[in-house]
Structures are given as structure tokens and as C-alpha cells.
């Protein structure tokens, strides 16, 4: 299960790279151990754990802390243990298997691993490369785009987990040019936004305009008439989509 962003969406995909991951793993014990004992040991890995990335890894091999949220044994047969684990990005499941083997005193290794979720993207959203290739063929050669539409998600889904602020048409182009979002430009917003939170700025049509840091809480925005509400950190929408309702300062004009 791998989320892949195309062209303009690429700049957003980094957001899910460091998010929660969920895997199904197959661990092979080197000798048989009763299920209760394996369960007991795997439970020890839930919470904050120390991990040194394994030899074959792409990061610096220094001891680091990773959080495991859930571990559940799905099936056990002989020396094979099939389990599901939900953890912080950068947790090595291979290492968990190895370490569990050490604690059990029988040694163990990871046989297979499959990622079933990255952030809010789950296995059920996934399509095979073959399906992608067929959808592209049907579109290019037969002129039918319906299959392609079925497998493509709009880039907006990448930021779907974020609190949202929706702006009026008249404020869109200024933000697309990198301007800060002021209170009068806001049409609606999620409750519970705190100052400093990362928020996604949308148009009333649901198009992503930019990501930004909230400069006010939801309550402050609701009770204010002016002031900067969100400072954009990354602009997604291209300028010129919406009418320009703002003025460039004339030369020599003071702000």
C-alpha cells in the first residue's frame, strides 16, 4: 500500500510520509513457543520503545525512540506468528521481530511484511499497477476516462485529516500569491483550531488553496472582524484561477 502523488500533488505527499503506519507482519520463531508467551512478549512492545535501525536500513543507525500504538496477533501456527501492528513512522517491524525473538529466548526473524495503512490511506483504497495501466489504456486508446477517474483521488485527500478553513472567492487569488489570510476573507472553519496549528485553506468549491499556520484560534476568528487568521506556509493553487480582488501597492506607496 503506497500513496503516490502526481505532478502538482507531489509537494503535499511529504505530509503523510511521517504519519502513522499500520502493517501485517509474519514472524518466524526459530523454535515453538506457546501462544500466551508470544502474546505476553509482543505486548511489551506497545508504547514507547528504543530501536536501533537494523543494518540494512536507509537511516542513520543511532538509538531512537519510536511509539507502537497497537500489536495484535491474528493467527499462530507452529513457529509462524501473523500479527498486525500500528506504529509511528520509522518503526522497524523487522527489529521488533528480532527483539521479540531475543526476549523469548528462541530467536526469530520477519518473514513477510505488508503495509495496510499510511495515515488515513488504507489498503481498501489501493489499486494494482495492472489496473492503472489498463485505465490509462482505456482512456488513451478508447477515449473512455471513467476507469481512470475511479482510481485517481484529488490531491485534496492528502490533507483530508487536517482542520480546515474555507475562504470566500475574493480572498482566493491573494492567498494563491502567498498573501496572509485575514479574518474578513473567511467563510467557514472547523471548530477547535488552536493558534499555531497546521490548517488547510480551501475554496467554497472544496479546492485546496494552501496550507498554513493558524495565527488565531477558531473562537478568536469567530469573534474578530479583522486581523491575520492564517499565515500560508505552502501554496498549492496556481495564481489566476480566481479573480484578482486585491491591489498591488503602487510604487512608492507605504504599507
Amino acid at each position: 500500500m503506497l500513496p503516490v502523488a502526481l505532478a502538482s500533488s507531489t509537494k503535499l505527499i511529504g505530509l503523510v510520509m511521517h504519519s502513522v503506519k499500520e502493517y501485517i507482519a509474519l514472524m518466524e520463531l526459530h523454535r515453538e513457543v506457546p501462544r500466551e508467551r508470544v502474546e505476553e512478549v509482543l505486548r511489551k512492545f506497545v508504547g514507547k520503545i528504543y530501536q536501533r535501525p537494523p543494518l540494512r536500513s536507509s537511516v542513520k543507525r543511532t538509538l531512537r525512540v519510536r511509539e507502537v500504538y497497537e500489536i495484535e496477533i491474528l493467527e499462530m501456527e507452529g513457529r509462524h506468528v501473523l500479527f498486525r501492528v500500528r506504529c509511528q513512522s520509522g518503526t522497524y517491524i523487522r527489529k521488533i521481530c528480532h527483539d521479540a525473538g531475543l526476549i523469548l529466548g528462541v530467536e526469530a526473524h520477519m518473514r513477510e511484511l505488508r503495509r495496510i495503512a499510511t495515515a488515513h490511506f488504507r489498503e481498501e483504497h489501493a489499486v494494482r499497477l495492472q489496473e492503472v495501466s489498463e485505465a490509462l489504456y482505456i482512456w488513451r486508446e478508447l477515449g473512455d476516462e471513467s476507469f481512470l477517474r475511479k482510481i485517481l483521488f484529488p490531491a485534496e485527500v492528502i490533507v483530508a485529516y487536517l482542520p480546515k478553513v474555507v475562504v470566500k472567492d475574493g480572498a482566493v487569488d491573494a492567498i494563491a500569491h502567498g498573501a496572509q489570510l485575514a479574518v474578513p476573507g473567511i467563510a467557514r472553519l472547523h471548530e477547535g483550531i488552536a493558534k499555531g496549528d497546521l490548517v488547510a485553506i480551501f475554496t467554497l468549491k472544496g479546492e485546496l488553496v494552501a496550507l498554513g499556520r493558524a495565527q488565531m484560534s477558531s473562537e478568536e476568528i469567530m469573534s474578530s472582524e479583522r486581523g491575520i487568521a492564517v499565515a500560508p506556509t505552502r501554496v498549492f493553487m496556481e495564481p489566476g484561477r480566481y479573480p484578482r480582488m486585491w491591489r498591488r501597492k503602487k510604487q512608492g506607496e507605504k504599507s
Partner: protein
């Protein structure tokens, strides 16, 4: 395509909330409609734009690395760049 773009836009935003597991309530600051002349609801983008502003969730086969899969996708769609949201491991094992 028909109907009110504001209604469609807000429905799309609610769908996004469900997709992202967001359970926050919406607060209305100013009940303003959107002009159908500009922009477009993301689910109704013309196909070329739907590709350029799109993403896929790939059921990755165990052999190739995430980077290889991204390189194939890039070539298949004929886009200048693509990126993945997996981990930085060289292989899944």
C-alpha cells in the same frame, strides 16, 4: 454538471472530513456563495487536471522498491514528477 457549486463544494468538504477521519464541527463566519465562473469542484476537474492534481494508492507488489514504483507511475502518466508517502526503507523487508 448542474446544481449549486457551493452546495457541491461543501458536500465535497464533508466527504474529505470523513476520508480524513475529521470529526470537528463546522463554524459559519459568513454564509457566502461561490461563483461558478471560477474554479471547479475537485471531483469534476477535467481529466488532464485531475491527473496533474491527482494521487493514487498503489497496491505495491513486494519486489520493487517504492522509488521504482514511483518511477513507473511517472512514466505511465507522462508527468514530470511524482512522489510517494511511504517510508524511506530501501525495501519492504
Amino acid at each position: 454538471m448542474s446544481q449549486d457549486p457551493t452546495k457541491k463544494g461543501l458536500e465535497f468538504l464533508e466527504w474529505l472530513d470523513r476520508f480524513g477521519g475529521v470529526k470537528r464541527r463546522w463554524l459559519v463566519k459568513s454564509d457566502e456563495p461561490t461563483d461558478p465562473k471560477y474554479g471547479c469542484v475537485p471531483s469534476e476537474r477535467p481529466i488532464d487536471e485531475a491527473i496533474r492534481k491527482g494521487m493514487l494508492v498503489i497496491d505495491k507488489p513486494p519486489g520493487p522498491t517504492s522509488h521504482e514504483v514511483v518511477a513507473w507511475i511517472k512514466r505511465m502518466f507522462n508527468v514530470e514528477k511524482a512522489g510517494h508517502g511511504g517510508t524511506l526503507e530501501p525495501s519492504s523487508l
